[in-house]
């Protein structure tokens, strides 16, 4: 059996292993995309490949030249992430096209070769990008590593503390939304009361124990915690979500995940 061209060759990766992989791929690709069968078989293919520590690539040796161990791991994981997404999105197309890897006699070999090739290219791209970034950084800093153009950097914007901000808005309750919703037969338990206690406890103890606060208020008013919790979800949480969204829109903390 021809070994995958750019992969290491685990001794266990024999003809039977390739045949099993090929069988899985053919059955998966014959199943309707999005069906339970297709999804379960895709998982089985991934497990089989991951068990053999595939993909591997000679390009991985480029990672060894990088200075930090953790950086190497990050780049490797980044390359793997892109590789699996691309590989699985194109798995069935890859089995039907006669591509450059014609020296592979079996579909299983061909697919493994493609996986390793793609991973190798992603590693190459990431290492190259890292090198360019390093060069740019060198140009931006002096011999001691200090930034040269410090005057051009934007000054950091100090946002008001989120917890303080929330406490303030709950207290103000400008449109009386929080005061106007209460538990049935418990007019003293309004959305404002619940949120105020929740936020104040977090502020005073530096702990965010949602369940403990619910339990404590429920005990105090002799009601079931589950009932209070549902009240929070249905009537308090939408308001907290709204406050958080307002803040997110003013300064998106995570950026676009895509």
């Amino acid at each position: 059996v021809t070994s995958p061209p750019s992969a290491d060759s685990p001794s266990e990766m024999n003809e039977q292993w390739y045949e099993e992989l090929e069988q899985l791929i053919q059955t998966a690709c014959a199943a309707l995309k999005g069906s339970v069968k297709h999804r379960i078989l895709i998982d089985a293919i991934v497990r089989k490949l991951q068990a053999q520590r595939i993909p591997r690539s000679k390009n991985e040796s480029r990672l060894q030249r990088l200075p930090l161990h953790q950086l190497r791991q990050e780049l490797r994981q980044d390359a793997l992430s892109t590789t699996w997404i691309h590989f699985l999105a194109n798995l069935c197309e890859a089995t039907t096209k006669n591509t450059e890897s014609s020296y592979c006699s079996q579909t299983g070999e061909h697919v493994v070769a493609r996986l390793c090739d793609y991973f190798g290219h992603r590693v190459f791209d990431l290492v190259t990008a890292w090198g360019i970034e390093q060069q740019n950084r060198d140009q931006r800093t002096d011999r001691d590593g200090n930034l040269r153009d410090i005057n051009n950097l934007p000054s950091p914007v100090k946002k008001p503390d989120l917890l303080d901000d929330l406490i303030k808005q709950v207290e103000e309750d400008t449109d009386d939304k929080l005061k106007s919703v209460c538990l049935k037969n418990k007019p003293e338990i309004t959305a404002q009361v619940l949120l105020r206690q929740m936020l104040q406890t977090a502020k005073e103890t530096n702990k965010f124990k949602f369940g403990d606060v619910i339990q404590s208020i429920a005990n105090e008013h002799n009601i079931k915690p589950a009932r209070l919790s549902r009240f929070y979800y249905d009537h308090c949480k939408p308001l907290i979500t709204q406050l958080g969204n307002t803040r997110s829109n003013s300064a998106n903390p995570g950026g676009n995940p895509e």
């Binding site: 339970v36 999804r39 379960i40 895709i42 998982d43 991934v46 497990r47 991951q50 953790q70 791991q73 990050e74 780049l75 994981q77 980044d78 793997l80 992430s81 892109t82 699996w84 997404i85 699985l88 999105a89 946002k159 503390d161 989120l162 917890l163 005061k179 106007s180 919703v181 209460c182 538990l183 049935k184 037969n185 007019p187 309004t190 929740m198 977090a202 530096n206 702990k207 965010f208 949602f210 369940g211 619910i214 915690p225 589950a226 009932r227 919790s229 549902r230 009240f231 979800y233 949480k237 907290i240 979500t241 406050l243 958080g244 969204n245 997110s248 903390p253 995570g254 950026g255 995940p257």
Partner: protein, 271 residues
């Protein structure tokens, strides 16, 4: 349904991009004291791993609609949710490499399709999806932690989703008259999820009775809250604009729905 067994056979590694690691770190550093910061980081990593896994399967997700993406909610709650548009939320709980159990916090009991459990090791380790588990439905006697050995395989998640999507389509199209029974889109998602678990885990002879009980329970829960600050304010029968069908009518509709489900899925049900 699969019996519980070791998760080692069905776990899957889900490598994360540098961007994902940076997002988790950024969330953690955002005005949180250290223990909370660690919690937020691990939760975000678990969510991002599940998101990538679902992307592999071309299952649509909406990270920005998830609570983990909202700075206020992730500060107050211990949340690791991921929205599947039109279907509900899955909870993605992190578990440390050496831990045997993971916490199911109260914040995760509401409106979840189920729990993904994700092993998050050190920064050098690749997150690993260990398995799937049912949501907490009994709030009066809730399950507060989950042991590794209790996990279902990821196959069960796919089986559940097939039923979940079938039920949603059926109520969108054939059983449209059931829609006025749901007081909100969220309640509809919750009921459809409970029905999906019933169809996955119970005998088909029990489906109709259990499905009807789910509807009745949700109706009772509506009675617990007043809108308006006067205790005597009448409770709105439903927040929906449409008129709900009579009891006999909706019971017939539910019967027909579960008969149709039985035709589609009853051979798969075991327990």
């Amino acid at each position: 349904m699969s019996t519980y067994q070791s998760t080692s056979d069905w776990s899957i590694e889900v490598p994360l991009s540098q961007t994902a690691w940076q997002i988790a770190q950024q969330f953690a550093q955002e005005q949180s004291p250290p223990p909370k910061a660690t919690q937020i980081r691990q939760n975000a990593l678990a969510v991002l791993a599940v998101r990538d896994y679902l992307t592999w399967h071309q299952i649509e997700t909406d990270l920005t609609a998830s609570d983990i993406w909202n700075p206020a909610v992730r500060l107050i709650e211990n949340t690791a949710d991921l929205v599947l548009p039109g279907l509900g939320r899955v909870e993605c709980r992190p578990i440390a490499a050496g831990e045997e159990t993971c916490e199911l916090p109260m914040e995760s009991w509401g409106d979840r399709i189920g729990y993904f459990i994700v092993e998050i090791g050190t920064d050098e380790d690749i997150p690993r999806l260990l398995g799937f588990a049912p949501p907490v439905l009994d709030w009066d006697n809730p399950k507060t932690e989950l042991h590794r050995t209790e996990l279902l395989s990821l196959d069960q998640f796919h089986e559940l989703m097939a039923r979940r999507q079938w039920i949603k389509r059926a109520i969108d199209d054939t059983f449209r008259d059931l829609q006025p029974l749901f007081s909100s889109p969220e309640e509809r998602e919750a009921i459809e999820t409970e029905w999906s678990w019933i169809v996955l885990t119970k005998k088909s002879s029990q489906w109709r009775r259990l499905g009807t009980e789910v509807l009745e329970q949700h109706s009772d829960e509506q009675d617990n809250v007043l809108l308006g600050n006067e205790a005597n304010t009448p409770i709105p029968a439903t927040l929906n604009q449409s008129t709900p069908p009579d009891t006999a009518d909706w019971q017939n509709l539910v019967r027909d729905l579960f008969d149709a489900l039985s035709d589609e899925f009853s051979d798969d049900s075991e327990s």
